[in-house]
Symmetry: C2
DNA sequence: CCCAAATTGTTCGTATACAAACGATGCAGC
DNA sequence: GCTGCATCGTTTGTATACGAACAATTTGGG
């Protein structure tokens, strides 16, 4: 059986018969969430205005600007990062001088984190970019569709 | 200022004033997409019935069962994986004996991929699990909400 | 007072995710 | 026929993502 020209794709007989397995990748929630997330990451990278900053680092900084000081573990839980991931994100933010860390006098297992002055400054500078990123991510939707989408997405986020 | 008991969280004054920066992490599309995707990955891991299989590998297998044979590059594009990622996923699927690879006689830059017999068998066995995963991911939504959500999510996926 | 269980944070290993660079190959235009 | 550009796949490096294991510390119950 010769392969088709150009793309070299051969459709299997089950696909020709309206996909007998009933599994269309393009319709699966997981696949679509991944793609939507990838598109969001690309918008973030193009819009944030600091090519050393990643979405996770930005989330940690923004949450720290809300709470002023918190433990590393709690920051991870507030930003949906597990302990190993949090450790790496914190390490890079400290290396950039954007946050500071001190042991908790009361519970010596804990480390307490705060924004440094540079971190606070960056947060003030990039907050508007953060909102623009969300806006651009949701750009294909009308105002009421955005509301509906976010409401449903929150229910799927386990929060 | 003494830290609060238990969680050691101090709310910054901007947060007390209804979050002056206007950036609430929990309301951002990017954050919510990430959490929804994490929840999906956890459901996948718990439901797929093969703890050596990852969502990306499963997607590649399911797409290959549709198309019978295709190039590595095209498979990557059909499953939203870039070339470097695809290379790693393919390597692991070949190592498990689930797919086979041969050079394209017509265009020697290309490699052509197909499911092996073991891969085809695994696809038959796990297709239903794949549909169950999507079902469980969308479980918090009613039927009409699912339809609405997927429609909107597709628009945000760039497809 | 002791001990088991839990919590916090680090490290390791594996799997994406993707930009950038590179080599091999193909193609179109001159 | 040659060349520039594009495509394909690999490799490298960095950043998550997360399970598992470990050490240090805390806590509550016996």
């Amino acid at each position: 059986m010769p392969l088709q020209a150009d793309h070299r794709v051969t459709i299997s007989s089950s696909a020709e018969n309206s996909d007998a397995s009933g599994y269309v990748l393009e319709d699966q929630a997981g696949h679509l969430l991944r793609r939507a997330h990838q598109r969001h990451s690309a918008i973030f990278q193009a819009t944030i205005g600091d090519d050393q900053l990643t979405p996770l680092q930005f989330a940690a900084l923004m949450k720290l600007s809300d709470v002023a000081e918190t433990s590393q573990n709690l920051l991870g839980r507030m930003t949906a990062m597990d302990a190993a991931t949090m450790q790496g994100v914190i390490k890079r933010l400290i290396a950039r001088g954007l946050i500071e860390r001190r042991p908790d006098d009361v519970d010596r297992r804990r480390l307490l984190l705060t924004l440094s002055q540079d971190g606070a400054k960056l947060v003030r500078e990039l907050s508007a970019h953060g909102r623009a990123i969300t806006d651009q991510t949701l750009e294909p939707l009308s105002t009421s569709e955005r509301e509906t989408f976010l409401k449903l997405l929150k229910r799927l986020s386990g929060q």
